[in-house]
Symmetry: C2
């Protein structure tokens, strides 16, 4: 990490002979946050250049499921018959996004969520007004609305439930559709896009950020930004050293990204004085079919349940990884298996089948008695429709009956389109990053804005801290990307 | 955080009219790391000044139990009949101190552990050659050697067990004795100690750290350090904002420190370019009597065991806090209670007693059946002397029999001397900090040493990453403090 080519130290503007390019606002990274920032900056009247390391836009956003967390009464929610308010949405996100979640960001996000939905629709993002009414990662249909655990324990007791997962209409994952729409909007705008351009260092004048250096097919080019630089370079899940230093539980797992989440934008900002936070936080997608899990149970290596199976599956993934090292199994019976809708099965075959629970626990390698106790206790209460241990909804409770099957979550089961799926086991990304204001201004260790430096998306610590709900990445990136672009454009 | 009085940004030396003091090596903080650094710098021929915010030395080290993790065949180990090697010590620490533990620091530490023991003895630190042979936080006797989990699962299978907790001879906690000895050594040396001196900012010339500014009874004083500044200012457990940003699970708990672990040294170094790591890591001391726990069991709020009770109790504390939110109970029977040595009881009274497990779980408020299943399963195997779930040693296994008692760990039970004890529940400290070389040189985001800046102790990410074993704080602080002081003194 010590060669001058790899240094992230800011370069003094006085050391730049002549800038290759000049613009008002420079946006670094063409994912959803960068696209939103560039569109907003240009709409605010700023000459805008958007830089992208790869040969085209999309970023990790294009690979995502395409859920955007929106609420407070969007047209889609209304069409599906749900009343919702910004207040209830705020309560849910404060509870779901973890300790030290940014209350001011959440407040702004929820109060302006309907407006943001309408902005997305105005860009051309399609949403279908129909609900998928069962826990899932992404609906196997083209349904446009889904629950993100709002109706499950403990959230159903903390805020009035309403489904807020707005899934971009798509054949399969919706992220590619979202980025195609935003890409078209960029193409129709006056924003200049420079691809194959890999930003290396910030350029500073005293404490002010005034540009960047970048590599472009082996050449070094320099950009001067008269009003501001907006970093939207993504997280650091692809940087194994950063992950080891900050997020130990993500080490060695598959990564959910476009391969460019190398953390360089975060480190460049840090070298210019930026503070970071929530760096140990991460989200994990694990290979399981929520429709199977919810009809059976998920257990750890000692055969013990650890969460209500009807909650948003991302929370199951976090618990499985952070508390049980991913050594978890989905247990279900024949009736449960048969009840899973055909389009939700993805051709999964159980790894173990057995006529009795005793045989099943032996096959898996659990201590004798471990799973037998769990199933007996589950069944004893499920007959009465209650789950005093984890509070799964009565809708999903009934005694499990032989024969039984077990699915080893670490082996991976879903088709390539479903990410972790392809590789097997789990795929992760990071949630920590630089500290920013609600207008995307990057804060230093004194809590002061660094003049000229803005950021949005996964390079920042955004809406979430240690908690995570799908849709808050695309939501956070586009919403705060817009604000950062606007704030940079308005800076003089 | 925005007033100039609170800024941690480095001050340019050109903005200092005249330095109040000049020296070769400046050490900031008079805990164990600072004392060791100052003694080493002075021994290496450097004029040395040691700054301390409080009116006297001691730091958090003076409040500690006084265990120092040492091995490889110390005189104390030999006198107690234990053979040990640096290799086995290295294996244990690599396993115990967590993922991304600094292998080179551990190697240096273990290979030089006997030399470090002898240096401590040469300073006058007393150790008694007798073993306390049962899991404990600190021996209730004056025994000088103790197990730190080396003989418990999983460590006993990973490295040849030898006890390596060297406890400074003392009436009660030994940290005060250690710091009295090191304080006497400082007083007998040529090191100048400036107390009531609170360091505010680093002073830099270009990239070089050349001094500090400090407050002293309302005045601002400046120090020039010709060779180096060594930061030994402790962790950040007392800084609620830093804890919220980096270590969410420590939020709101009692703190084990002298009140000065405000993280300012870490932030000052960051503002000068230092990289940080392992910031979410923390250690927790919880209010339980290991001698009771090991003779019974520890369970979570669903009545389930989660660890072998014979391991080092700090690991029980980490599992209780990080995986079970401290909602844990010690369960034991009358025979177990009676068998706990009188001097290990600290007058504890159970919070719940009952004739049956069913009554006990009802009293505690667990789901009906939860604890009954656990005790039945424990007893079924304990009769055969095995624990297939958590591998507690046969030495501590036997079926539990009515009547039963439960101790609510969150209520706090131990006497004031035992920290958490006084307040009840738990006391924590942080393990993350700035990145350093084995010679205490502070590294920037490029992995390059920042010229003139050194650090040791809890301001750094030291031997540990996310794992922790008692004795590695005083051990790390004094060992790497010495190395940092020497390296600073030898810098030209």
């Amino acid at each position: 990490m010590s060669t001058s080519a790899s240094t992230v130290r800011p370069l003094a503007a006085s050391d730049v002979d002549a800038f290759t390019y000049e613009t008002d606002v420079l946006v670094v990274g063409f994912g959803c946050a960068g696209a939103a920032a560039a569109l907003a900056a240009e709409a605010a009247g700023a000459e805008t250049v958007l830089l992208e390391r790869q040969s085209g836009g999309g970023g990790s956003a294009a690979l995502s499921g395409g859920e955007i967390y929106l609420g407070g009464g969007t047209a889609i929610q209304q069409a599906c018959g749900f009343a919702d308010t910004a207040e209830e949405m705020t309560k849910f996100l404060l509870a779901a996004l973890g300790p030290d979640a940014d209350a001011e960001k959440i407040r702004q996000y929820c109060e302006n969520s309907v407006e943001h939905y309408e902005w997305l629709v105005a860009q051309g993002v399609p949403f279908k007004p129909s609900l998928w009414d069962s826990p899932t990662w992404v609906p196997p249909t083209d349904d446009g609305l889904m629950w993100m655990g709002e109706n499950a324990h403990p959230f159903c007791d903390l805020a009035t439930p309403a489904p807020r997962g707005h899934r971009v209409t798509s054949d399969g994952f919706g992220g590619k559709v979202l980025m195609a729409v935003l890409g078209d909007a960029i193409a129709s705008s006056a924003v200049a896009v420079h691809t194959d351009t890999s930003v290396r260092r910030l350029i500073v004048e005293g404490d002010h950020v005034v540009g960047v250096t970048a590599g472009h097919f082996g050449e070094t080019v320099t950009y001067r930004a008269r009003r501001g630089v907006v970093i939207t370079t993504g997280g650091f899940a692809d940087n194994t050293e950063m992950v080891a230093h900050h997020a130990p539980q993500l080490v060695g797992l598959g990564v959910n990204s476009d391969g460019g989440d190398d953390g360089r934008g975060i480190r460049m900002a840090q070298a210019a004085g930026a503070a970071i936070r929530h760096m140990s936080a991460g989200q994990v997608g694990i290979s399981l079919i929520p429709g199977m899990m919810v009809r059976g149970m998920i257990v750890d290596e000692l055969g013990r349940r650890f969460i209500n199976e009807d909650v948003y599956p991302g929370l199951v993934g976090q618990a499985a990884l952070f508390e049980h090292g991913l050594r978890v199994w989905v247990i279900l019976d024949e009736q449960g298996y048969d009840e899973v809708p055909e389009n939700e099965r993805w051709g999964v075959a159980p790894h173990f089948v057995a006529e009795t629970v005793a045989e099943l626990e032996h096959e898996i390698g659990m201590p004798e008695g471990a799973l037998q106790n769990t199933v007996a206790e589950y069944n004893r209460y499920a007959g009465a429709g209650i789950d005093p241990y984890f509070h799964k909804s009565a809708r999903w409770l009934r005694p499990l009956r032989a024969p039984f099957a077990a699915i080893d979550v670490r082996r991976g089961i879903a088709p390539p389109e479903y990410g972790a799926a392809g590789g097997g086991g789990a795929e992760v990304f990071t949630l920590g990053g630089v500290c920013t204001t609600v207008d995307g201004m990057v804060l230093d260790l004194d809590g002061e804005a660094i003049p000229g430096l803005f950021a949005a998306g996964r390079a920042t610590s955004g809406l979430h801290s240690w908690g995570y709900i799908s849709g808050t990445s695309l939501g956070d990136g586009t919403f705060f990307g817009r604000r950062a672009g606007t704030a940079a454009a308005e800076r003089r």
